[in-house]
Amino acid sequence: MSVQWDRRITPYLFVSPFFVLFAVFGLYPLLRTGWMSLHRWDLLAGPVRFTGLANYADLLTDPHFYNALANTASIFVVATVPQLAAALGIAALLDRPLRGRTAWHAVVLLPNVVPVVAVALVFTQLFGRDQGFAAWVLSWFGADPVDWQAHAWSAHLGVAIMVNWRWTGYNALLYLAAMQSVPRELHEAAALDGASRLRAFRSVTLPGIRPTLLFTVVVSAIGGLQLFAEPRLFGGGSTAGSAGGNDRQFQTLVMYLYENGFERFDAGYAATISWVLFALCAVLASVNAVLVRRLVGRG
């Protein structure tokens, strides 16, 4: 081994872990699921026969697929809109001279470092029908306890609250970092021009953090499409749980994928769902990019 060879190869070796990992855990599964989706494929027995695009045709006429898609969209809206608004508010509050800044930042991020399974288990207890904390709070207002899993609206709300709990602080810190990189002179100029705090926020801060807004919306949307652990655990261990409720009222796309792949062992159909999910993510990412750019651009 000569020194020359070493010089030429080493840099590639240093960057190779990413590409090797991406090939093994990203590219290969992607291509393999694509191949599986063109087959009738049993999880245990393997490929049964080549069916071309039949799985895709079935999926497009499958009412459970559209139900899962609608649930996913509904939970995404209920979760993301308040989440990002609250994150902006928290970031604005933290973006001021504060005592114990680092401590505040840590507190805000804390919910995000708790494992999702723990979060889901605790919240599912809080939303318990018979002994839940939520039922107790409702009773102060004379309201009857709610069977959270039994109705679409309450289940979507419950799942969305879990998602918000986990991600609001994370997004707030992203916004905060972005806000702190907005040049102070702009704020000072706005103040000299007599702009109110709200006006300054709208006209200086928001345009200043535009790339970050775009980023959080895209990431939340993709995260929302892949929502699984929270609703799955919210349903508990019963037959209702695995399908997202007795009438699939909170079954998300990934839950439907899981049901097909690991409960019916229909790996081909599950692979089809994951490819459609992949396409949806790609479309959403581009639409989001265009929309957010326009919306914030006007401010």
Partner: protein, 421 residues
């Protein structure tokens, strides 16, 4: 030059790390065998005994809940990696896994064929594949059906508490439904039974055929009167609010047992341990056991199998063979009420005379073991597991108050046909 040597070292280190992930030896050089079960198998003391008799073996138990256990097993089988050396399989999953019998060691290779006479014939038959040429699993327990009830709640409802008198209240499921009405008229802070689906499963399991025809495995769930009858009986209880709406084996179910939120539960033999665990010492003496309406039936029961991916199949088989041997089955029944599936054991006088102090000295030997010879096994279709949850969720909708029994039934039949397309 020094640097040039580093890469091979790195590779070597990586290889060692990767190699370290496999293996089947514990730190002290003993052979490690893992046994994956679900719920309550009562195996821990048996593992210790096996290790004492075989000092070269280290037995490690892995316990999960029913769903996680079977899903994990299937994932590991599909991946070809990660399954335990000995795995428990519940009877519901047998038809499906029989389709992939090549993923398991054929226990006939190790001489399991010679053990055939240990088990009740139907129990043996459920554990084999390829018309009996391949032995997939060795039978553990079975799930003879009885009815557990709370003496304290029955007393408050002005109902008899003596187990023979209670049995006389409900020779049929219609009688059971009448008692539910009487109970609800007197007690308002507890429900009559735990959930629609527990009753449904019990009634369904009293029939030999349910969703699929024994003759040709065709779907008969929509027309089989046994299915409709079980659905109507259980659905009516749910629609009238006689259930505590807690799904079996979930956290709320455990809490409900602990707090005495329901008065009766259809209990297969293996459920007794779960009731004890959930009820704790405070529940001792409050429960009792009596005959189930409609006379006998079997719900569940499991097998021990050896995945073909294991490195120590012969040793794993020896362990499984020992765990399912008559001496161990007898001990599991006396200690934990786990019902044996071997005639030699369930006809044993010690087993027949066994009483359970937790359940008010109920004669569990007489109640469960004595009826073992008359157990009629259920025929499970290959796609049983695809259809079963559809009907389960339909009854859940009745219990949620979202649909009436008729609507739920219609939707279930439609969905079942869709699933089977």
């Amino acid at each position: 030059m020094q640097r040039a040597y580093r890469t091979p070292w790195l590779v070597a280190a990586l290889v060692m790390v990767v190699a370290g992930c496999g293996g089947g030896a514990s730190g002290d050089g003993r052979l490690r065998l893992t046994v994956a079960t679900f719920g309550e198998f009562g195996y821990d003391p048996l593992f210790e005994e096996y290790e004492r008799a075989h000092p070269e073996v280290d037995v490690v138990g892995r316990v999960a809940d029913f769903d996680s256990h079977h899903k994990g097993l299937i994932t590991a089988l599909a991946a070809g990696n990660g399954a335990a050396d000995v795995v428990a399989i519940e009877e519901q999953y047998m038809p499906r896994l029989r389709q992939s019998a090549d993923r398991f060691a054929d226990l006939a290779r190790f001489g399991a064929d010679g053990l055939r006479d240990r088990w009740a014939p139907w129990k043996w038959a459920q554990g084999v594949a390829a018309d009996g040429k391949v032995v997939l699993g060795l039978g553990t327990d079975m799930g003879g059906l009885a009815m557990c009830y709370r003496r304290d709640l029955f007393e408050r409802a002005g109902l008899p508490t003596d187990r023979d008198q209670v049995a006389a209240l409900w020779p049929t499921w219609e009688g059971y439904a009448e008692v539910a009405e009487r109970f609800a008229g007197r007690v308002t802070d507890a429900r009559f039974t735990d959930s629609v689906n527990t009753v449904y499963t019990a009634v369904l399991n009293q029939a030999e055929e349910n969703y699929f025809a024994k003759a040709d495995d065709s779907f008969i769930g929509a027309t089989n009167p046994n299915v409709k009858r079980a659905f109507d009986i259980a659905g009516a209880l749910g629609a009238k609010g006689h259930t505590a709406k807690v799904a079996t084996f979930t956290q709320p179910w455990n809490v409900a047992i602990n707090q005495g939120s329901f008065a009766t539960i259809t209990c297969p033999a293996w459920m007794l341990t779960q009731i004890k665990e959930a009820g704790g010492p405070a529940g001792a003496g409050k429960w009792d056991i009596t005959a189930i309406p409609g006379g006998g039936g079997n719900w569940g029961g499991s097998y021990l199998a050896v995945p073909a991916q294991g490195e120590h199949q012969r040793e794993a088989y020896r362990l499984a063979e020992w765990l399912t041997a008559p001496e161990q089955q007898k001990r599991l029944f006396v200690d934990d009420g786990i019902l044996p599936s071997e005639p030699e054991v369930y006809r044993d006088p010690v087993v027949l005379q066994h009483k359970d102090p937790y359940f008010g000295d109920a004669p569990v030997g007489r109640l469960f073991a004595a009826s073992s010879d008359t157990v009629r096994p259920n025929y499970r279709g290959v796609r049983d597991a695809d259809v079963r949850p559809v009907f389960g969720r339909a009854l859940g909708r009745v219990e949620d108050g979202a649909q009436d029994v008729g609507q739920a039934w219609e939707q279930a039949v439609r969905e079942a046909r869709d699933v089977l397309r």
